[in-house]
Symmetry: C2
Subunit: 370 residues, 2 copies
């Protein structure tokens, strides 16, 4: 068995659901930047967000993102604080408040369920599909959805991190505002951004450390502003100020900039990223499928996530033993989300194929030992 020497580093074997693993190269760059950010001659932690240096960093980061996504100019890019959870509120504040129409939500798992109460405070909400009766083990099929032509918007979560469910198609109608929480699979595959009116993603899965949230929105969405929005919660204020309405999380944004460079320079773009992600997930699901009596996959096969591989073992004792032995093998962060229990192996972009191979081999050895 060939093991990448890098795998001796526990950071590479961090299968946490988030904050997740970051590329080794990015960790090195961040350490260096705490001493002295290249071109600035100062610690990244003491650099003014009003400096020319940071303005250039923000512009380059946005440009890298636009290049990766093929994002047209009629979309704005915002770097905000508050996580996806603040977007659960800001989105209906902007797009539902004072509207007669209902917003339509797909309730497909833990996180999409969390996104709904804040919307109800702002207007009418229609749950277009609810997966709870089936235990959130599968996503809807296209023929099960009847999205309205006159909805305020349709909201869904592209990847349910807790349950390990991922949409491999785009639900909703192209003539209705489509809003997508891509927090846990953003930049893990290529997609057509013009099918979305608003995309948001916190950083701590594929983008960087916790503390910054990306919002990408079609500028025309802001033409009919809601009443009574405080500026700090108003996309227009952040857009006008180029994400410098107030002091941004400079370090987290710098980390995102490094991750994007890594994606462009080391990985080579989103097609290649998808190919790597498919290979990693396939390797792990193949172990699950080979030992179906030991590894009980959670998600229906057609909706399996490439990012979060969720499974149970036949008993809590076996699960505890699995986690203990995995930890001894250097693999951490495998405990399932507290809402669901079980095991979850998160395979975000920065998780190397070599690290996944090491986990897969551990799982095979664990199964072979009975």
């Amino acid at each position: 068995m060939v093991r990448d020497p890098y795998l001796l580093d526990r950071n590479a074997l961090n299968f946490s659901g988030g904050p997740g693993v970051l590329p080794a190269r990015v960790l090195d760059e961040l350490r260096e930047a705490i001493r002295s950010a290249p071109g600035a001659g100062l610690s990244i932690l003491g650099i003014s967000h009003r400096s020319d240096w940071f303005a250039e960093l923000l512009a380059q980061t946005e440009q890298d993102l636009r290049q990766l996504l093929g994002l047209p100019d009629d979309y704005a890019v915002l770097f905000l604080q508050g996580g996806a959870s603040l977007q659960f509120t800001m989105i209906p504040m902007h797009l539902l408040r004072g509207r007669a129409q209902a917003a339509e939500y797909l309730r497909t798992g833990y996180w999409s369920a969390k996104s709904i109460p804040a919307a109800r405070l702002e207007g009418r909400v229609r749950i277009l599909w609810d997966g709870e009766n089936e235990g959130f083990r599968r996503l809807p099929r296209a023929d099960e959805l009847e999205p309205s032509a006159d909805a305020a918007y349709l909201h869904y979560v592209s990847n349910e991190t807790v349950e390990g469910l991922q949409f491999h198609w785009v639900p909703g109608r192209d003539d209705v505002i489509r809003v997508c929480d891509m927090s846990s699979d953003f930049l893990s595959y290529p997609f057509d951004p013009t099918r979305f009116a608003l995309i948001y993603a916190h950083a701590q899965k594929n983008l960087g450390p916790a503390g910054v949230t990306l919002v990408i929105l079609r500028r025309e969405l802001l033409e009919h502003p809601s009443a009574g929005l405080p500026e700090i919660l108003d996309y227009r204020a952040h857009l006008k100020a180029h994400s410098l309405y107030n002091t941004p999380p400079v370090f987290a944004i710098y980390a995102v900039s490094r991750v994007l460079r890594w994606l462009i320079e080391e990985i080579g773009g989103l097609e290649r990223m998808l190919s790597l992600n498919r290979g990693k997930a396939k390797r792990l699901y193949s172990v699950i499928d080979r030992y179906p009596e030991l590894y009980l996959g959670w998600a229906a096969p057609q909706d399996r996530s490439l990012m979060n591989v969720v499974f149970r073992l036949p008993s809590p004792e076996r699960e505890a033993e699995f986690l203990r032995q995995a930890e001894r093998a250097g693999c951490s962060g495998l405990r399932g989300h507290r809402a669901l229990g079980g095991i979850r192996a998160s395979l975000y972009n920065a998780m190397t194929p070599g690290a996944v191979e090491q986990l897969a081999q551990f799982m095979e050895e664990f199964a072979a030992k009975g």
Copy 2:
């Protein structure tokens, strides 16, 4: 002239208004933690906020803060995102919404003026004192204020970062909810926290890097909740979840934990911090007072800030020359806030007396050269 060898490091001579200088020891600890956080065996950037390790870190950080402030148990401590600017909104959402009384605001400079519009969205606001007519060059005297006994609350900013004005006394009534934005002088001096119902401070001056905001509030404030608050903007949700309502900015909180340890272990507490801060400010103001025709101090002497020393030179050309030469002498971040221009030397806690001495000597040499 004796120069501390440490001063060769440009990070020590960063006089930026914020994000500001951090202690050299903390920068070293943060670099190490990006490789491996002590006791966790993983990069701080990949550690789960739901781990026991992080729960312990949060608890210890809160305990250190309580120790430094002498904070009683009937106060809660929250670590939030969104900066002081989000607090401008959250505070009136909690304490003004649906109330008949007016909130009273002291309008003493750039930042306190910024805090007011969001309050007006939630209820009646009375400007108790407005320094704009006098160009925000001084703070009110106690005998100029007539705070109401029935105000919803009184809000003020303890240190106006832009103008370099600092309250050296506590305005307002002890029988009215007193709310203070201490973003730019928090933990720079000892004070009696029980005179305040709510204190808030973003991190990027004395506490850590941008990205986390501290809110300290008397628990009884939350007994009469406002209607219609989304959970993410509700202090009760964050309190109940021990600041883990959603993924917190782990790295920024870790940095705060290291700064607090530095304050306790290396500085020795807030009395000593104040003494150091007084010495630093005195040194710089003494240069200003010795060359009153060259260095035109902004703040009235009785209201001079220990944190931000703001002054102008007789012409924009002289100011540009000053900044050029200062930069050559290794001193950065001295350009005044864009709203005011001129020069600003910020002397936050982590700025060493040796670094201030180096700036003071530069200013003397600049003055001597005419």
